[in-house]
């Protein structure tokens, strides 16, 4: 967890100090799905949502262009390596002889995007993410808030959850197939499990770190317990909750893809695995790329929701600088 967070913080400051006003630059640096996958199992105390250290804009010639140029060079190098390795069928312990070239993948991608079956696969995966993630959000936030606020509830519920938490969502696949009546419901369950724990833990942490003075202030303004929870504690914990949602979304994708590969019917994970079984190698890479893009879009959606729901965040910083 710590490493992910610091990495993200460093990136943000990088983008800010180098570009300042270069709007789209940070968006392209959203951590992709696999990076966040490391997080859930070993994440005990998410000390997160810490604001990145204040950026000091250093005015510099070509300040806005430089990061863009570097992005292009970096991605260009990756593509170049991929092309050379596959076109010349490099074989040095790692074998590239069966890996499709960028051109093959690009052509297949164009064709598949017009293919109904492929679009259905994307739709199914998105629907599964939507449902699993929504249930995880509701349960994670509610249980997290109750645990954070009522010691008795936490004492009864949290130890059991702590036992289950270190088990990665993927390890749930066999038992999930046994537990749930249909493949569909077991895939939803695995997606849910992946997202649930990061959301729960961050909510709990957020509720626990609500400034006592805010609760006292609300109390002496005549706030009932219910209103205190919904209008003060929830709002104060919102930045932490959104950190949990961002991490949870990443883990949900990892879990979903694994579940689809193993037990699936439909979905981009299933599509990618099927491509391997059917020796349609370009499809494997198309599947991978689509999974990456979908993950990116979902993280972006959460960021956007956070900005809309927390308009007060970061306002003071702007005024000062």
């Amino acid at each position: 967890m710590a490493s992910t967070v610091t990495m993200r913080a460093v990136r943000d400051t990088d983008a800010l100090s180098a570009g300042g006003a270069a709007g789209p630059a940070p968006a392209t640096r959203v951590p992709s799905v696999p990076e966040e996958a490391v997080v859930p199992a070993l994440a005990p105390a998410p000390a997160v949502a810490a604001a990145p250290p204040p950026a000091r804009p250093r005015p510099r010639l070509g300040g806005a262009l430089r990061p863009m140029l570097m992005n292009m060079v970096s991605i260009g190098l990756l593509l170049g390596f991929w092309y050379l390795a596959t076109a010349y069928r490099w074989d040095f312990y790692i074998r590239f002889d069966n890996v499709p070239t960028p051109g093959e993948v690009f052509g297949e991608a164009l064709r598949l995007l017009g293919d109904d079956k492929f679009v259905t696969n994307i739709g199914v995966s998105l629907w599964r993410i939507g449902v699993g993630f929504l249930i995880a959000t509701v349960l994670g936030v509610v249980v997290g808030m109750l645990c954070g606020r009522y010691a008795l509830f936490k004492g009864l519920v949290f130890p059991a959850l702590e036992v289950l938490r270190p088990i990665p969502a993927i390890a749930w696949v066999p038992i999930s197939i046994m537990l749930w009546p249909s493949t569909e419901s077991s895939i939803l369950f695995i997606t849910f499990i992946g997202a649930f724990f990061p959301i729960l833990l961050n909510t709990l942490h957020g509720v626990a770190s609500v400034d006592t003075v805010l609760i006292r202030a609300a109390r002496c303004l005549g706030t009932s317990e219910y209103a205190l929870m919904t209008q003060v504690v929830l709002k104060a914990a919102l930045p932490h909750i959104f950190t949990g949602l961002a991490v949870g979304m990443g883990v949900a994708w990892v879990s979903l893809i694994a579940a689809e590969m193993i037990s699936g019917q439909f979905g981009v994970g299933y599509f990618t695995w099927e491509a391997y079984s059917l020796i349609e190698y370009p499809h494997i890479v198309v599947g991978m790329l689509v999974i990456g893009v979908l993950g990116l879009l979902c993280s972006g959606a959460i960021r956007l929701a956070g900005k809309i729901l927390m308009p007060w965040q970061g306002i003071g910083g702007k005024e000062n600088s």
Binding site: R216, A217, C220, L221, G222, S224, E319
Partner: protein, 289 residues
């Protein structure tokens, strides 16, 4: 507005023989011991004393955040049971809800009372106008200076129309100039709304300037050392602080508090285990300085 007529009748704070003990590392410590004080309706009363003397503990009891170990605390004859909107509290730290705009912060207490949107909106605007903050009603707390935030904090505490206002070193974090302005604004609002105020501070000048009566507390365990009436006429102005009368009271209070601060320091030196030679009473410390 705010039922000014009714305010004159209520707001009597009565603290009788209150003691508070904490257990720290298995040892019982008295924070406050046998304190009695009262704030009459419409009176402005300050408590001063060395740090750690239990001033804030007393305020927390009246606010309802803390129950006394012994003794009773009541407002208008009814014992205090938990916090409530009948007692406004202004905190030392900034306590505005950062996710609400200034006006929403002020409206919050009214919303909790179930007042309808348009009514509470106009009430909040009236109060913000009184405090000179109407231009900032749509700002977030983050966008305000420290002085403005505390003004909003005061307005928010007053919005529900409490007859008692409890203030825990509210201007402690402000610079000297802002502090003076805030004191004038507070005096003005207190006069207009005829509130009973219990004000905690460690600033002697501030306590004299604002109060009708000042209680001086001893070092821990906190007891009432002296009750000093402040007979200065009102309205009070900034240049009064250099009058002979003001300075005489200042001198008297300073001497009382100095004694207690030295006692507290002497105690700390002993607690610090610096050895027998360093056991200094107040006299010893004075000599050493």
């Amino acid at each position: 507005m705010m039922g000014t007529a009714a305010s004159t009748k209520g707001g009597h704070i009565d603290i009788r023989d209150v003691s508070v003990s904490f257990t720290q590392n298995g040892v019982a410590l008295d924070a406050v011991s046998g304190v009695s004080l009262d704030v009459k309706p419409g009176e402005f009363v300050s408590i001063v004393g060395p740090s750690g003397c239990g001033k804030s503990t007393l305020l927390n009891i009246v606010a309802g955040f803390l129950d006394p170990t012994r003794g009773t605390a009541s407002v208008d004859g009814s014992p205090i049971q938990g916090p409530g909107a009948d007692r406004g509290v202004v905190f030392q730290q900034y306590s505005l809800f950062p996710w609400m705009r200034v006006r929403e912060n002020v409206e919050f207490g009214l919303k909790m009372q179930g007042m309808c949107r348009s009514e509470r909106q106009s009430k909040a605007r009236t109060l913000l106008g009184l405090a000179g903050l109407l231009a900032f009603e749509n700002h977030y707390p983050e966008q305000l200076s420290g002085g403005m935030r505390q003004r909003v904090g005061i307005v928010r505490a007053l919005a529900t129309g409490p007859q008692v206002l409890l203030m825990d070193e509210p201007f402690g974090a402000l610079d000297a100039q802002t502090r003076v302005v805030m004191q004038e604004i507070l005096t003005h609002m207190w006069h207009q709304l005829q509130l009973s105020v219990l004000f905690i501070t460690h600033d002697i000048e501030e306590s004299i300037f604002l109060s009708d009566k000042v209680y001086v507390m001893t070092a821990r365990p906190g007891r009432i050392k002296a009750e000093i009436p402040i007979p200065l006429p009102r309205p009070r102005t900034a240049d009064m602080t250099s009058s002979a009368e003001f300075l005489a009271i200042h001198h008297q209070l300073k001497a009382l508090i100095r004694e207690e601060s030295l006692a507290a320091m002497g105690g700390e030196l002993q607690d610090g285990g610096l050895g027998r030679d360093w056991h200094l009473g107040p006299e010893g410390v004075r000599a050493a300085l």
